[in-house]
């Protein structure tokens, strides 16, 4: 896992606006390898997720051979949750990241080490799970009930758009978006919103499928992505197109360095990324100061 630190708080002088604008425009109008109108993209993505919602977790397990659990564990340990935290998990529909955070905050071991004062803080912990797709949220709510967290005050399920969040400025200690930013229409709006809702000292963490550069591994990964995954989608979920969209959208998403500079442009500091599995997945992080 390679750790690289990219801190660029200034725009590049050489016509950056043109470059980034065209890249963003191309992201806003791309649906996988297809070209679509900007207004349509969000609808089409919505349809994809409504279709995959019921099998989402199962397919994740299949496609990543269960590794996605480890990736999410890594994301949450990077976050270092604490009792009393106000956290926002965007595009977190089925609740994977939220459940993990809650688990850490409530863990017995932690409680054993704390003052009584902190028990009150634990009550104040709030994890907001925001997703644009109601189907995904419903799946998440059901899973919460299964885990006995149905009545938990700390979990709040909110339907909303990542590009226009309904939360107040400077209200969140942490913001995570796991495997969601690839699907938004306007990446920079999401990053700006993230910056807006975070408190001073708050952290932005993004877990996303990213670009592999290692020579032989890259070819193997491409074969796996384009041959195996859509077929798996067809067999397991009965939906080839959605999974075709998935693998294509990974390729269209900006590479690690570019995305890191976009995060820095939104105002975050100490922007860095960590590649997992040679770049198949990357965790980008930044702090708001």
């Amino acid at each position: 896992m390679a750790l690289r630190l990219v801190t660029r708080n200034l725009r590049n002088r050489i016509s950056p606006k043109l470059c980034s604008a065209s890249l963003l425009h191309s992201h806003a109008t791309s649906f996988g390898f297809k070209e679509v109108r900007e207004e349509e993209k969000s609808q089409m993505v919505g349809k994809v997720f409504s279709n995959v919602a019921s099998n989402y977790d199962l397919m994740n397990d299949f496609m990543s051979a269960g590794l996605h659990r480890l990736w999410k564990d890594r994301l949450v340990s990077e976050l270092s949750p604490f009792p009393g935290m106000k956290h926002l998990d965007v595009a977190g529909g089925t609740g994977d990241v939220a459940f993990r955070i809650l688990e850490i905050v409530n863990s017995i071991r932690r409680r054993a080490l704390q003052d009584p004062i902190n028990d009150d803080l634990q009550e104040e912990t709030r994890i907001y799970v925001c997703d644009i797709n109601q189907n995904m949220l419903n799946i998440g709510k059901n899973r919460a009930i299964e885990r006995g967290l149905g009545e938990a005050k700390s979990l709040v399920w909110v339907q909303g758009d990542a590009e226009a969040l309904s939360f107040e400025d400077n209200s969140m200690d942490g913001y995570t978006i796991a495997f969601g930013i690839r699907n938004v229409t306007h990446i920079e709006k999401v990053l700006t919103e993230a910056y807006r809702v975070l408190k001073r000292g708050g952290r932005f963490l993004c877990l996303e499928l990213s670009h592999v550069e290692i020579p032989v591994f890259k070819e193997l990964y491409d074969i796996y992505s384009f041959s195996v995954i859509p077929r798996l989608g067809e067999v397991v979920a009965g939906d080839r197109e959605s999974y075709q969209y998935l693998v294509e959208s990974i390729r269209r998403f900006p590479p690690q360095e570019k995305f890191a500079s976009m995060i820095a442009d939104a105002g975050f500091q100490k922007v860095k990324y960590e590649n997992l599995v040679g770049g198949v997945v990357a965790i980008h992080s930044g702090i708001k100061i």
Partner: protein
């Protein structure tokens, strides 16, 4: 640590004028250590560009207001991104809570709350608790340097006493945290943290020797640092279980160890002379004997 390195650079500039050759000797070896670690862990935000830092981007830029009018060399060596300043503030505030919570994440969360920053920032420290310990070590070293530079009392003492005094000054800085110091030591001993803690201790020991007036430049340099490192660590550990008022026993222990070390040095020197004399004596008698044998 890097801030400290930058300060030392400034000190070096002033020290060169004062103490002539000896300070030059001490710096070269350390400087490579410091700069190599600087570049390997941080892509320095302000060496990248365009020293043309735009004032218009000041809302998100990392240039601190003080660098605006400074000379370029200082700006390159001393770039402080905003988040680093905040992190330092948080760590400084956390030190006040160490006595209550120990060297732990909780302490740092309390420190962050005190400064008015979200405790999430704690997650961004590279090795969390170890970061706090390292900050403390750097802070103490900086204070020691300040004491050395300002203190006149050292001039009147002989080297062994000077060393004793300096180690004592340094260890007294740890005295308020002594109840939680074993925890800090355990963090420093952790394999992930050993490189940094070793480096910090090496710098500390070097600083003390330099202040004691060391002029060595060959193998002696290493021998002296190793010895002092050993004395320092032994005293530090002794201090952990010392219950005497104001750590009187620790200082007696320290004085004894320093005396032993200096005695040992004298003993070794004498042993060397003895060996040389014996060798010379034997050599000449052997020569005489061989001469007689071959003359016949």
């Amino acid at each position: 640590m890097y801030r400290m390195a930058a300060n030392r650079f400034l000190h070096h500039a002033s020290l060169v004028k004062n103490s002539g050759g000896s300070s030059l000797l001490r710096f070269p070896i350390l400087r490579t250590v410091i700069t190599s670690s600087w570049f390997s862990t941080y892509a320095d935000p302000q060496t990248f560009p365009n020293q043309t830092l735009h004032p218009s981007d000041s809302s998100t830029s990392s240039s601190s207001p003080t660098t605006a009018g400074d000379d370029p060399r200082q700006r390159r060596k001393n770039p402080r991104a905003e988040y680093e300043e905040e992190q330092d503030h948080v760590l400084q505030a956390s030190l006040r809570h160490v006595i209550r919570f120990g060297w732990s994440e909780e302490t740092m969360i309390a420190g962050a709350k005190e400064v008015g920053v979200s405790p999430s920032i704690v997650g961004s420290f590279p090795r969390k608790e170890a970061a706090l310990v390292e900050f403390f070590m750097d802070d103490c070293l900086q204070r020691l340097i300040d004491r050395i530079d300002s203190g006149e009392e050292l001039r009147q003492l002989i080297p062994s006493q000077r060393i004793s005094k300096l180690v004592r000054i340094r260890l007294e800085m740890q005295a308020p945290y002594i109840s939680k110091w074993p925890q800090a030591l355990s963090f420093q001993a952790h394999p992930l943290n050993v490189p940094t803690s070793f480096k910090q201790r090496a710098m500390l020991v070097d600083e003390i020797w330099h202040a004691a007036g060391d002029e060595a430049s060959d193998i002696d340099w290493y021998v002296k640092r190793t010895f002092l490192g050993g004395i320092y660590s032994a005293t530090e550990i002794y201090m952990l279980t010392d219950r005497s008022p104001e750590f009187r026993d620790t200082w007696l222990f320290l004085d004894d160890r320093v005396k032993d070390a200096f005695d040992l040095k004298k003993t070794l020197q004498e042993a060397t002379y003895l060996a040389e004399a014996v060798g010379a004596g034997m050599g000449s008698s052997l020569q005489g004997f061989v001469g007689k044998v071959f003359q016949r």
